[in-house]
Amino acid sequence: MTAAPPHDHLHREVPSDDPRVQLDEAAGTFEPVPPYPPRTEREAEFYTLGDGEMFINMGPQHPSTHGVLRVVLKLDGENVVDLDPVLGYLHRGVEKLCENADYHHTIAYLDPLEYISSLFCEWPGVLAFEKLLDVEVPRRAEYIRVLATELNRILSHSLFMGWMALDLGGLTPILWSFIERDEIAEMLASLTGQRLLFNYLRIGGVNGDLNHDFMSRLGDWMTRATTQIDNNLGLLNQNEIFVRRMRGLGTMDKETAFRMAMTGPNLRASGVPLDFRRAHPYSVFPELEFDIPTRDEGDCLARYLVRIDEIKQSLRIIDQCLHNMPDGPIMAKLPRLLRPRPGRAYAAVEGPRGQYAAYVISDGTDQPFRMRIHDPSFVHLQAVGTLMPGHLIADAMAVMASLDPIMGGVDK
């Protein structure tokens, strides 16, 4: 701990004794410097301005921070010298809430963590509970889970395409991808009952079988999905402005990616073919055929293209699920009151952003003793601290968008 920097450059003379004037002055002279002495070395270092540098406060209300993220940027002209992300604007204390809910109810709390990939937030929790309880999930339920989550992955990735373009100034792709997203959301709504927070997976199965509405929508969509997605992507994938801005931007090599504890497409864009569906198989993924798309560049364009390739692999998986869908029950026989034996279980799934995981400790009661939720957005967002410095503000936003954080997951 060092002493507070003097902030002399920030002082302003208040001309009047009138408190209203002082209020006005206080409102006008905001600098994003914390009012207390720095707590750590890093904070002291960050909040000391060098020659010709200035702070700019971005968020929590800003058009491109993907939610309520606040980033204090230290700028030299338009170059980002350093940055300090400030979290907690959406913190709901889900882990604490889960400790006070019983095992079934926990699923509803896991749902709104990442509000565009809800099924992936439910899945690790449910998997961990099943491990605690030694439940055998029926095969049909497993296939339905895979089918629904792969749809959710396409939904999430297609929204990412739109946001990426929006942060680079393109107005149109976001709306086209929202059309895509809306079709999938309607489809999942007819399967799960909701469009956004599905609350569909249950301990030992799923809530409700495939129905006619869902299957007809899915069949209709599958016949044109590939061409439709390719067509929409044709707007930007060859666009010189887009490609020139993305290429070589925010490059992250393999070692850095491991050091930053990255997973998912962000890691695969750096050339590591690590996909927990293959690397640590769960559910019925060992029976399904799909490739793991990787890119070696590690830049924003690679992260963008890896996600595009993943959409195609997801379509393959959905196709296989539809062909291999077994018959049978969709719920395991379970008592209504779940009291797992004391123990610990960890489960992870490969989501659209990386590894979604849950670590549950049971003490033998009907509520989890400790429920730890691991969210990839949280881990990936801290990579902006290493990727952003040295770029312009415009690129800083693009780098953040390419990591695809969702603030609901970051703030838990």
Binding site: V14, A26, F30, G88, H91, F258, R259, A261
Partner: protein, 182 residues
């Protein structure tokens, strides 16, 4: 369950383990003392027959009597998740060495554990609260946290929010804002 991993772990860290290795489903669990964390984790990360290069998760746990820090690691060499539990941290002053020297990405997870449990990670150079307000005084995920009391110990009034000024010259104005809000 990966029996080979269990044998290797036993052979390599035999005397350091504070409890027998526990295996269930696809998880292998070892318990070590908090002082051994850097050595053990570095060995697990570097040595050729472990190569646990992916830090899957870092979590704090309050068991009610002691504090724990739980690391989940993944490796190509094993089909199991490896769970390393740094056990036996005192509840009064829980301290454990940081693993940011290996995984810089653990920084925020350690900040979160500090924020929620008050576990001090020695060596993390940015260990401050991440979710809760900076002047928050209690640690919400601890088992002795009681909501109305402990939340009230951390008065929101003490935080000058970002709309308010921070300069001493404006102290009067800030007080006024607080009064008008109250």
């Amino acid at each position: 369950m990966d029996a080979a991993l269990k044998r290797r772990l036993q052979a390599r860290f035999g005397e350091r383990l504070t409890a027998p290795i526990h295996q269930r489903h696809d998880q292998t669990e070892i318990r070590i003392g908090p002082g051994d964390v850097p050595d053990v984790v570095r060995t697990l990360h570097d040595e050729a027959d472990f190569r646990f290069i992916v830090l899957a998760d870092l979590a704090g746990v309050d068991t009610g009597s002691v504090m724990q820090v739980v690391y989940h690691l993944w490796s190509e060499t094993s089909s199991d998740w490896l769970r390393v539990i740094a056990d036996g941290l005192s509840r009064e002053d829980p301290r454990v060495p940081s693993v940011t020297f290996l995984w810089k990405g653990a920084e925020w997870m350690e900040r979160e554990a500090y924020d929620m449990f008050g576990i001090t990670f020695e060596g993390n150079r940015d260990l401050r609260r991440i979710y809760m307000p900076p002047d928050y005084q209690s640690f919400p995920l601890r088992k002795d946290f009681f909501l109305p009391d402990d939340a009230a110990r951390s008065p929101g009034a003490g935080v000058r929010h970002m709309e308010q000024s921070h300069t001493p010259t404006n102290a009067k104005a800030a007080t006024l804002i607080r009064k008008t809000r109250a």
